[in-house]
């Protein structure tokens, strides 16, 4: 529903008043938005000292993401909130045109091909070519597949505008001191969603940040009934449990620095056998004895969400960002279908801790950065980032959310996809905070994830990027799925030893581009950071598990 009525539209078309000023007036008279009358700067004439797009015509070709052009004629229901914000920006930047092109920006082959041939769109999600993790993204940046926007980043002052959480994840969009991406979205951390109402029914207390996987097992068992399982997980579910202990894949205890070898890293899946066996045994017990897990080798995030939505499972593991999504099949829609307020029905808690209190790195912030086409000219980059700045960091964002709120009256819709990439976590013209929208306890969990877990040292910030990514993660995925799905007796340590051997054999074919001395220096700093971190955050873990390992394995490897 458009705020702009017919008279206003005519006035605008006659250029008797700029859209911006008009919206300021309309905003003030609109019911409920009292704040505007109090002189809130609804629309500044120009936002901050951000550079404007230059005079020559600039065409931004986008593949319908994240920005689309205005429709040619006004749609029946009026312009959407996004379109109204876009109109303002276009007014300020009349020489810029947005054009839609069809490029496969979600398909790795298609996007890589387009970038190779110079036909990529202005914006894309860098994770598509960067495997969605820090190492992959940094390799993509090192290979020049994404535009270097360091200059524009500084000119627009994004460092100050980004939230603390966004900055905690800087390894995702920075390489050294050069910047390659901005943020349209943040995934604050992974965790477990649970049905509050069912928990209450079963008489279970709400989980806290200190809960463990043994607790989860109890919960799952208690919540399993004839037509419902306690927990549903993706096909890599075992990985959550191992990650809680710092084991598996590329986690803390699984990689040992090995400067003598070519690749500099050695995989280790056989230390801590007791912990491995206990964890694997617990997972398999949950799956095959308690039968409290809904799992299948074909499950991914969507299937898990679907099962939770249908009530087939009382808990699910999924990133926290879906808590604030207002479309199907996420909890918001589920609560709506049940006709009950969301707070009553769905809760979220970060991942359970591991032995002695180790925190699961899966609950760290994940950022899917937005990258620009490396072939853009400076003027085009500026235009692209000016639009981004307006839409995500500045007035455009506030306007969109405010219009959405006025249209729906739902604070949750205004604060959807929270936390925002920008530091300002309120919306001009909307009374209320994210805590009002989503519940203080959810915000508390987010804060815990942001302030504690996301501060975990990130390898990408210490070690120089590798252009060649080394062995793929397939060998670990294989071991994980064997441990999860193989029926009967499974010799966990044999499977893990095999995965270790495979990965190391694969690594033997690579030579790192980092010289040994640089590597050792980085490694020393990295592990020292871990030392300090765990001492502060999980002292018991630090004393009983980390320090012995640090002293007996890491220090000798680094010649300390």
């Amino acid at each position: 529903m458009s705020i702009i009525d017919e008279k206003g539209l005519i006035a605008m078309q006659q250029n008797t008043v700029s859209r911006r000023e008009f919206l300021k007036v309309v905003g003030a008279s609109s019911a409920g938005v009292v704040a505007a009358a109090a002189g809130l700067p609804v629309m500044a004439a120009s936002s901050s000292a951000a550079p404007r797009a230059q005079a020559a015509e600039i065409v931004l070709q986008t593949a319908s993401w994240p920005y689309t052009p205005l429709p040619e004629t006004e749609p029946e229901g009026g312009y959407s909130a996004y379109e109204q914000a876009l109109m303002i920006w276009l007014e300020d930047n009349p020489n810029v045109r947005i054009e839609t092109v069809e490029v496969g920006i979600w398909d790795t082959s298609a996007l890589l091909t387009a970038i190779a041939g110079g036909t990529a769109p202005a914006y894309f999600s860098s994770g598509v070519i960067g495997s969605w993790n820090v190492a992959g993204l940094q390799a993509a940046y090192a290979q020049g597949l994404v535009a270097d926007i360091t200059e524009q980043y500084e000119a627009f002052g994004f460092e100050e505008k980004f939230s603390a959480l966004a900055r905690a994840g800087s390894a995702y969009y920075k390489l050294g001191d050069r910047v390659f991406g901005v943020l349209n979205e943040i995934a604050p951390g992974n965790g477990i969603y649970y049905r509050r109402d069912l928990l209450e029914e079963a008489g279970l207390p709400e989980p806290t940040v200190d809960w463990t996987w043994d607790d989860v097992r109890e919960y799952a068992r208690a919540l399993t009934t004839e037509d419902r399982k306690g927990l549903v997980m993706q096909n890599w579910g075992l990985g959550w449990q191992l990650g809680a202990e710092g084991l598996g894949d590329n986690n803390l205890f699984s990689r040992i620095p090995d400067p003598a070898s070519g690749w500099n890293w050695k995989w280790d899946y056989t230390s801590f056998p007791e912990v491995y066996e206990r964890t694997v045994a617990r997972y398999r017990a949950m799956a095959y004895e308690d039968e409290s897990i809904l799992q299948d080798v074909t499950f991914n995030d969507g299937s898990v969400a679907q099962s939770f939505y249908n009530g087939e499972a009382a808990m699910m593991t999924n990133p926290s960002q879906f808590y604030t999504r207002v479309t199907e099949p996420w909890p918001y829609a589920m609560a709506e279908n049940m006709g009950r307020p969301m707070e009553e029905v769905v809760g979220f808690m970060t991942h359970p801790r591991g032995v002695s209190g180790h925190l699961n790195p899966a609950a760290r912030v994940v950022i899917p950065p937005t990258g620009l086409n490396p072939d853009l000219t400076t003027a085009e980059k500026e235009a692209a980032l000016s639009l981004y700045n307006f839409m995500e960091m500045e007035d455009g964002f506030d306007l969109q959310r405010r219009l959405l709120y006025e249209e729906t009256g739902d604070l949750k819709q205004a604060f959807s996809i929270f936390p925002f990439p920008r530091a300002k976590d309120t919306i001009d013209g909307v009374e209320g905070t994210a805590a009002d929208a989503w519940g203080q306890d959810f915000i508390d969990v987010l804060n815990f994830q942001a302030e504690v877990i996301s501060q975990m040292p990130e390898a990408g910030l210490f070690f120089p990027a590798e252009e060649n990514l080394g062995p793929t993660g397939d060998a670990w995925a294989d071991a994980q799925s064997t441990l999860s799905y193989e029926r009967g007796e499974v010799d966990a340590m044999a499977v893990l030893a095999q995965a270790e051997e495979t990965r190391n054999q694969q690594a033997a074919g690579f030579v790192s581009s980092t010289p040994d001395d640089v590597f050792v220096e980085a490694a020393v700093a990295f592990y020292a950071a871990h030392d300090a971190y765990w001492q502060k955050v999980a002292p018991e873990f630090h004393e009983n598990v980390f320090t012995p390992w640090y002293d007996s394995v890491i220090k000798p490897a680094l010649g300390m």
Binding site: P71, T73, E102, W106, D301, E328
Partner: protein, 343 residues
């Protein structure tokens, strides 16, 4: 009914075999139709119902919402639905593009491939024929993903498989190049020879007895006339099958058009629709990182108001031309019987 004996038809043994055959054929039909039935019923469900496990056989609350959504997009470029951000052009434009590209490619490819197959089958012999055979089908043996980038670069700067043409040595000027990228030619020309159809034609031409050809040669007449007057009328069934397979393959081809076409006024239907379908399939995700990526594409579609029912509608629209083409080809396939009845 030539296989089943005319005599002794009433015998219980034959009867039993006959009914078994019919039963197997009917079972096959049933299992074959299940996905289509599923697509059609899902397109009439509400989004919520599509998530139900086990899938409901019949829509509990039939809803035309998905069909309305898609047809709003097909008829007008201005629609009140957000889905227009994902499908910027009306559907008939995509359809037109598909038809031009697919029929254009077939018009060139069928004759070119048939000629080559005939030559390899009847005009060549011995080792030459065998090497040419390998030459023609060898490219089937390498996965397409690997030649994607070189082929794509060729459409940009033919004949140089590089992002930019090299400079003429000693000057500042680049070599002249041909660019078919972002035009229908980028689909039509690379499809000019179809190795699979080559196999098909060759297999069929191999069944034609050489004596027929030889006799025609003795009669006088160029090879071309022999081909035209004798071989082609005999081969209508295989042309029909080749046309059908190529149409199906080109109509549904997704990755190549996605890469070589960009402007929304040359995009074919398969690309427009498959972009959305890929988002929902979330293929091959085996760890949390990949899941993040799959989710982003999924969300883009969801935010635009597209969900399973809408996706099914698109899938049905995508399948209808294939269906129509099949019916056309089937007629030509069965025509063969009448033409050869005399021999």
């Amino acid at each position: 009914m030539a296989l089943f004996p005319k005599v002794g038809r009433k015998q219980p043994g034959v009867r039993f075999a006959w009914y078994t055959v019919v039963a197997i054929l009917l079972l096959g039909i049933f299992l074959h139709l299940l996905p289509f039935y599923f697509m059609i019923t899902t397109s009439f469900k509400t989004t919520q119902e599509t998530f139900a496990i086990p899938p409901t056989l019949w829509p509990q609350e039939p809803s035309f919402k998905a069909w309305e959504l898609i047809f709003n997009v097909t008829t007008a470029s201005s629609s009140s639905e957000r889905i227009r951000t994902l499908l910027p052009q009306p559907m008939y434009i995509y359809f037109r593009n598909s038809m031009i590209q697919v029929l254009g490619a077939m018009a060139i490819s069928l004759p070119v491939t048939a000629f080559a197959a005939y030559a390899n089958s009847k005009l060549q012999q011995g080792r030459t024929a065998r090497w040419f055979f390998l030459f023609f089908i060898g490219t089937l043996m390498l996965p397409f993903a690997v030649t994607l980038i070189p082929s794509f670069l060729l459409t940009r700067n033919f004949p140089f498989p590089t992002p930019n043409p090299p400079l003429i040595p000693g000057t500042e000027n680049p070599f002249p190049t041909i660019r078919i990228w972002n035009t229908p030619w980028a689909i039509i020309i690379p499809a000019g020879f179809n190795a699979f159809n080559f196999l098909l034609f060759k297999g069929f031409f191999d069944t034609i007895p050489n004596s027929i050809i030889q006799a025609a040669r003795v009669d006088g007449g160029s090879e071309f006339n022999i081909f035209r007057r004798i071989v082609v009328p005999m081969s209508i069934p295989v042309f029909a099958v080749a046309a059908w397979f190529q149409f199906g393959a080109l109509w549904d081809s997704f990755l190549w058009p996605l890469v070589v076409l960009q402007s929304t006024d040359v995009i074919p239907m398969s690309v427009a629709i498959n972009n959305l379908i890929q988002a929902f399939q979330q293929a091959g995700v085996t760890n949390a990182d990949q899941a993040m990526g799959a989710s982003q594409a999924f969300q883009q579609a969801l935010d635009a108001g597209l969900s399973w029912p809408g996706l099914m509608v698109l899938g049905i629209l995508q399948t209808i031309p294939v269906f129509v083409m099949f019916i056309i080809c089937r007629e030509y396939l069965l025509k063969g019987v009448r033409l050869r009845g005399l021999k």
